[in-house]
């Protein structure tokens, strides 16, 4: 995945995670709010550590 898209997606995930955290905490769901923020961070971490496979010219060819 192109890095700029990954950066944008990571920001969206963290923003949504923080909003959900605030909403859950506001409702008194303290434990759940931490699970939400933990999940958001884990999602971003998983996206970045996942190994990409390099591309070659062969990749651009259509299969027969």
């Amino acid at each position: 995945m192109p890095t700029n898209i990954k950066v944008g997606l990571s920001i969206v995930v963290l923003v949504v995670g923080v909003l959900m955290y605030i909403w859950e905490a506001d409702q008194g769901n303290v434990q759940l709010s931490w699970i939400v923020i933990g999940l958001s961070v884990f999602m971003v971490f998983a996206m970045w550590i996942f190994p990409e496979t390099g591309q070659t010219r062969e990749d651009q060819k259509e299969p027969d």
């Binding site: 995945m1 192109p2 898209i5 990954k6 997606l9 969206v12 995930v13 949504v16 769901n29 759940l32 699970i35 939400v36 999940l39 884990f42 999602m43 998983a46 996206m47 996942f50 190994p51 496979t53 390099g54 591309q55 070659t56 062969e58 990749d59 651009q60 060819k61 259509e62 299969p63 027969d64």
Partner: protein, 256 residues
């Protein structure tokens, strides 16, 4: 028997997978994300009314059409957009060259890299479901909103499981489990290079393929869902004769 071209591509692709990649960890990450999200949704549901449960079959049906559309129009068509073309490349140019109907099977867990989606796909799918969940939650009821989220995330995990089952070696479970055996034959036929752009676009249950006439079978919905490995109802005007899973796995796994 696997052609040299496929063998070479598999070797080249494997050489490009990072040495520390582990298929078990990959799948664990996907299911931890999905399972945790499902736990969060479940904490918000309570006293679900009978009509609210109807959300599940409706969303399953819509997800089925979405999966069909995404596979047909994005994964098999090059679109001039960096994000979408990456999906096309991963699927048509990598997955379909790595697995053909001559060899559909994983050699070992490192081959799962070319089948199970990267974690970002699950994240994007959850984000894409949120507007529908919010609309359902505010316009109908909170339970409906959380059920929408639960069903979309659940369907994603079902998708990964069913697709995975299509690429494992023959065993009693994939041969005899209803729905799984149907998809296995359905997907093996899809990996025929002459058929892959036209037929068998579903990767969970062939509902949309039946509905839109893109299945390689000529039979009703229930027949489609419970077809198993049968080739009795194959259409007669297909561009090529699709192989079944038993034919595709007829040879011992090649020493690659």
């Amino acid at each position: 028997m696997m052609a040299d071209k496929q063998l070479n591509f598999r070797q080249d692709y494997r050489a490009r997978i990072a040495g520390w990649y582990n298929g078990y960890v990959h799948i664990a990450v996907i299911y931890v994300i999905g399972g945790t999200a499902l736990y969060i949704y479940a904490q918000h549901m309570g006293q679900v009314l009978w009509w609210e449960w109807l959300t599940i079959p409706i969303v399953i049906f819509l997800c089925n059409i979405f999966e069909w559309f995404l596979h047909k129009e994005v994964m098999h068509h090059h679109i001039n957009n960096r994000g979408l073309s990456a999906i096309y490349q991963r699927h048509t140019l990598n997955h379909h060259r790595f697995f053909t109907d001559s060899e559909m099977r994983f050699r070992d867990h490192t081959d799962w890299r070319v089948t199970v989606f990267p974690p970002y796909a699950m994240v994007v799918f959850i984000l894409m479901s949120m507007p529908a969940g919010l609309i359902g939650g505010f316009m109908v009821s909170p339970n409906v909103g959380w059920l929408i989220m639960s069903t979309t995330t659940g369907m994603y995990l079902v998708y990964e499981f069913m697709h995975f089952c299509c690429h494992v070696d023959e065993n009693a479970f994939v041969r005899h489990c209803p729905l799984v055996n149907t998809l296995r034959r359905h997907h093996t036929a899809h990996h025929n290079s002459k058929l892959m752009m036209e037929v068998n676009m579903n990767l969970t249950f062939p509902i949309a393929d039946w509905l839109f006439g893109t299945s390689d079978l000529d039979r009703g919905l229930f027949g489609h869902l419970l077809n198993g490995y049968s080739a009795t109802h194959l259409k007669t005007d297909l561009k090529d004769q699709p192989k079944g899973p038993l034919e595709a796995a007829a040879y011992p796994m090649a020493a690659e």
